[in-house]
């Protein structure tokens, strides 16, 4: 390659393979699916009718409510559990930091199915936890930890926790430790400093992490399918059922559009939040 060729090389070209992959494997099949399904309907108004019919069917409304409720709960749980872990990571170095980070990241590399089955072993009626509690005499009858909302929440919180921790950690690492020191030096107690300085400065991470976890949670399929009960039907499970069992591809497409729309709205919010953070110079 000549010198001029080197100079005229546009680094923007490097993104082309990624774009091509995305379009080939994601945009085209999705468009194919939607076009194929909706082309069978007669005209736009018919499609609109199908939309209203499908999205107002009681089963689907229930699934949407359940999906949002479970996602919100999981988001709250990952936040409550993840915040102290991220704080610990951001304020420790050396082997303690490495150990905690290892414990957070390694499960991340394991298949979701494997992790979910592991939880089922732990949580089942005759699972490890119930047997331990029974033999200790803490409880008289096994606790219902599996095949209900509790099971779904435990499983999903576990799977999504690393996303929350790592997002919070990234924000917390960016907090200037001099600001905390300044607050102490100016007479603020540790609690006051946390409430008025540290937490507000970590708020971007809280919002970003919550949005990421929520976005991932609303599309969850494996964990609620394996660990939930009959009433814990999430929207992704209905889509799968429509495609695989009832072969009602139109309903599947409509539910997919609804899910995609929700995700995009949340993504826009996420984008705005991170944009604001850039504006704040944090």
């Amino acid at each position: 390659m000549t010198r001029t060729a080197h100079q005229s090389f546009d680094p923007g070209l490097l993104i082309i393979p990624a774009f091509a992959l995305l379009i080939l494997l994601f945009v085209i099949p999705l468009a194919w699916f939607f076009v194929g399904v909706f082309a069978e309907e007669e005209g736009v108004s018919a499609v609109m009718h199908r939309f209203i019919d499908v999205l107002s069917a009681p089963g689907i409304v229930n699934a949407l409510i359940t999906t949002n409720w479970i996602s919100a709960m999981v988001t709250a749980l990952t936040l409550v559990i993840g915040y102290p872990i991220a704080y610990y990571l951001a304020n420790n170095t050396g082997w303690r930091f490495a150990l905690v980070l290892f414990c957070i990241i390694v499960p991340y590399f394991t298949s979701v199915i494997v992790r979910t089955y592991s939880w089922m072993v732990l949580l089942g009626r005759n699972g490890t936890i119930n047997q331990a509690l029974l033999s200790l005499g803490v409880i008289d009858a096994p606790l219902p930890l599996l095949y209900n909302k509790m099971g779904v929440l435990i499983g999903m919180t576990y799977v999504l926790l690393p996303y929350m921790v790592l997002t919070l950690y990234a924000t917390m690492r960016g907090i200037d430790s001099n600001l905390v020191r300044a607050a102490y030096g100016l007479g603020a107690s540790p609690v006051y400093t946390f409430r008025k300085v540290y937490f507000p400065l970590s708020l971007h991470g809280v919002v970003s992490g919550s949005l990421i976890v929520f976005i991932l949670a609303i599309g969850f399929f494996i964990t609620p399918a394996l660990m939930g009960g009959p009433s814990d039907v999430m929207i992704a499970m209905l889509i799968e059922r429509a495609v695989e069992i009832t072969l009602d591809w139109t309903s599947a497409a409509i539910m997919s559009v609804a899910l995609l729309a929700m995700t995009l709205v949340l993504y826009v919010i996420y984008y705005r939040v991170t944009d604001v953070r850039r504006m704040m110079g944090a």
Binding site: R181, G185, A188
Partner: protein, 376 residues
Amino acid sequence: MAQQEVQAAPSHHATDGLGTVSLQRVTKRYGEEAVVDDISIDIRSGEFFSLLGPSGSGKTTTLMMIAGFANVDGGRILVDGVDITTRSPQARGFGMVFQNYAIFPHLNVFENVAFPLRARGAPEADIKRRVGDALALVRLERFADRFSRQLSGGQQQRVAIARAIVFEPRVVLMDEPLGALDKNLRYDMQVEIKEIQRQLGMTVVYVTHDQEEAMNMSDRIGVMNRGRIEQVATPGEMYERPVNTFIGRFLGEANLIEGTLQDVSSAGAILRISHGLVLNAPSASTDLAGKKVHLFIRPERISVSAPPADAARPGTNSVAGQVRRRSFLGNVNRYAVTVGAAEITVDIQNTGGPGFEVGDDVALTWAVADSLVLGS
């Protein structure tokens, strides 16, 4: 600073005798190494005291121990006679100005300055009044709603100062507060900080590596080097009578002419330097007789004239030399003159004359009383 703003400032504890800080044999170790080694300083009420030293001298560590951010490994720190060595930083009640301002980015100027008051649970009306006063003092009244990212470096520095004084602490600690500002702004801020300190009468402990800054602002300076205090003195005293060669070199320009000290008496001494040359030296400790010492003399205390050198009159030195270099510094001409094997720097006020050229033979003259014998 305008007169009216001066009067708007709170000035209630100018001379109440409080705000003394006493370091007694304070030591800080990191592993085996003592980064602050057995230092004792008594800082007076209302004094502007600077800790001056090169980086790694332990000055910032000393300030952090006073502030409570670094543990004291030996010795005690007293404030107004009360031992605070083991108190938490927030219980010490100092005002603090940090190196990179440490302005809270999520709070506006008003809330930043109000922070120490809110942390102490001050009533809202009180907060309004005091923040208003503090902002007036640093001339930032019109910037109360701004955020730090909307302020210049000098303005951020003013916010940091207002925040440190708003709760009227007896003692304010400042850690290289002007380090990030450019030179002209630095000088203005030095004057401004000094003015605020004079009005409020608080004690200031100020850390800097900039000797001009320390000399300009301080009532007294403590020069630190390798974890020890080398000298504590007023700027004038330290400049005129450094206790050792380190201080002499560190504060301003200095000639340190090496030689062997002889004939030490109460009237004076003789310094034998290279090439059989002999200089008159002031009286010194008899312990130094026969030893290698340095004769300390400031470049501006030496005069240059055309040769020949006068026969040395008592009380003066007059030696022949040759100009090796000439640097034009604007207000002064700086000559490097070789005398024997020694090179002596001389600053001559630029009064418009032609001066001397490189290669000229000259005579250097100075009063013995302006020089000082410093042990090696």
